[in-house]
Amino acid sequence: MMGSVATTDQIPPFERFYLSHRDEVLGYLRRLLGQRAEDAWQETFVRALRAYGRLEHGRHLRAWVFTIATNVAMDELRAAQKDARTPIVDEPAAELRQDAFKELEHLTGGLPPTERAAVVLRYGYDLPYVQIAGALGSSEEAARAAASSGVRRLRRTYERHT
């Protein structure tokens, strides 16, 4: 038993980590980003590899790589939103939404990846839960739960800091 604890703490060779997660990370990004997923997937594993040598233990590696993937996807979505913006901005609602999204993106940085994606997609992109569920590969119920748990967590964090 003690031996198995030591084994999970140990950082596996990157090759083994990569083989364990490459497919599910691509699936996740494909649901979030569609056709643009491949570049984001490559960026995710490049970032992971850059940081891999500085990891202090091998626990929660799956959550860790999903956090990176979520961050990369958020960067992609933000860039895409910027590109889509028309130069003539006479619609205040769009401007407001843009600011709200930026704010949200910043605020949600500390959330677990699924909650963060659910919160950003729901409140930043105004996507219905049925689509968020599709993006997260979960049920509509689970997407709703992730978003509300993310919001609760944000509120707790906010309250602690005021």
């Binding site: 060779p13 990569y18 490459r22 494909r30 490559q42 040598g53 990891l55």
Partner: protein, 182 residues
Amino acid sequence: MNVTPELDAQFRALAVREGLVDVRYDLIASPIGELLIAATERGLARIYFDPAGQEDELARLFGVRVLRSPIDDVRRELDEYFEGKRQEFDLPLDLRAAAFHIEVLHELARVPYGSTTTYGTLAARVGHPTAARAVGTVMNRNPIPIVLPCHRVLGANGSLTGYAGGLDVKLQLLQLEGAILA
């Protein structure tokens, strides 16, 4: 959602090109069985006769950023060697992880193709004529067999003595080189 072989190869090549890998390795087929070759940015660092599970050993020696990726120059030179078309290797080597043995390994690298020497001779060449047994230990732990030709080192009475890849492999390599008759 499976990563395609093209995307996978693209990532591996990028990781190596960007210098993000501590050690890369590949598996190659050879007449003496499958070999695992491993290289750092400095050069060829390891050849294993038994590829299974060596990723952990590589991580321990060089760092956890271990990634499988083709090592074209090593593969090509080994292929040529096994086809009998190459007598000397022209590969950069990384012997950092073998620092203690480095003097003996450098001397070993000078033993020519198609010839043999003995543990005692090698010991004498590095200035320790009585250290044949210690030289045997260094041979036994040779990080880059074949390229550093410990198969060319025999006992004083001409016996094959020992080999990490098995005595049959030692014999096969010496026969390939024409050092002994098939």
